[in-house]
Amino acid sequence: MPASIGVSFHNVEKRFGSLAALRGVSLEIRAGEFVALLGPNGAGKTTLLRMAALLMNPTRGTVQFTNGPAVVSGRVRAQAIVLRPKQLIGLVGHSTLLYDELTAAENLTLFARLYALEKIADTVATALDDCGLATRAGSLVRTFSRGMRQRLAIARALLHRPSVMLLDEPAAGLDRHGLAWFSARLARLKADGCTVLMSTHARNESLDLATRAVALAGGRVDNDSGSAGDPRALLAALRTEQ
């Protein structure tokens, strides 16, 4: 089972020039929680996820990983400290984070090598089999449909068995079969104790797995079902709004 680690956002603020994407967000996400991050476009969901992925520094406040091998600040400056949690984070973003001119197998092999995984050929073959792309292992990613790319993007993010999984609209482009595979994969992550932070719209079926719902609006936490609460009421309310 991957090491369980949680994520804490302390009064996080992010500004892009005069635009405030996040305005003092404080969230304590416990290890093993499955958090559905909801809210309208421009609410700050992607910014929050990119900060948790250590791709972006907060303008103010801190992002910390807890209960893991190290407690670190979200500031990316101290390379030696930051390297360790990087191994524990997986991200599925808006883009696929894949090289179009490499094959599916080459893409996964590249990242398996960068994450210093062992038994790379076996790991890549199993990951391709898992996402249903084993027969297209040698095909260039640019020849894939949107759904196939998304499945490969998810497989890439899961390759190193992250303890914190960050998902930004991960179901985009997936067909019914792909969605079923993705939901099963999420259920397995949850069972393994992986901390999941997923930004999506309120009608996504995978949200049934969520143990907590957080609604953002205007860069602030608008509503939070809490760690001990039941997210269903909030999810139902948001579904009605939509």
Partner: protein, 236 residues
Amino acid sequence: MPCLPRCGRSSSLTTAKAAAIILAKELRLEFRTRELLTATVIFALVVVVLFSFAFDPTAAESRRYGPGLLWIAFLFAGSLMLNPSFAREQNNETLDALRMAPISSFAILLGKILANFIFMSLAELVLVPIFAVLYNLSLAGIVWRLILVLVLGTLGLTVTGTVFSAVSAHARMRELLLPLLVLPLLTPLLIAAVESTASLFAEQPALERTWLAFLAGFDIVFLTASWLLCDHLLAE
């Protein structure tokens, strides 16, 4: 559904190993698409050939003007080649995937610098013999010394160009921005490279140690600066 095997997490890669992986990726991508090499070689070749026919230089004139022309061709070719180095990581935000990997930022930069150095060297490998034929210059007896000058000059060009390619990658007008940022910085390097090359093409070929030391110093300074600033260079 098959289960993913337990993939042991070893400690992070060394910078050299991670850079080698990035380099291998860059080489694979380039030799598959031939995007950069083809355009660069053709462009530099056109410059060299055009000037050769326009001036029809004598051997003496070639010795005077040839080195400058050669390095201008390299500079233009380099500008063309270095710009997409980081820009093409924007397509699917693959730079984010590299930045998220447990490797140092310098490994990403170093892998790309080495790849660009290899591409530039390959272009030079094609260009220099053609240049020597068209401008009636003999390479006999100066090959190794010329290679030394080319290596030091090209390294400076690629280090600076790759660093600024990373800086300008997020900019909207990056094609314009990169030469604006790089050309003033490269002027001292180009002067040293041209002077060193000219001294090799002189009637009595000699390697100007002062210019050579300047080239080496330039490379060391910019390589060190890129190592010190790599986190900021690749940060969003």
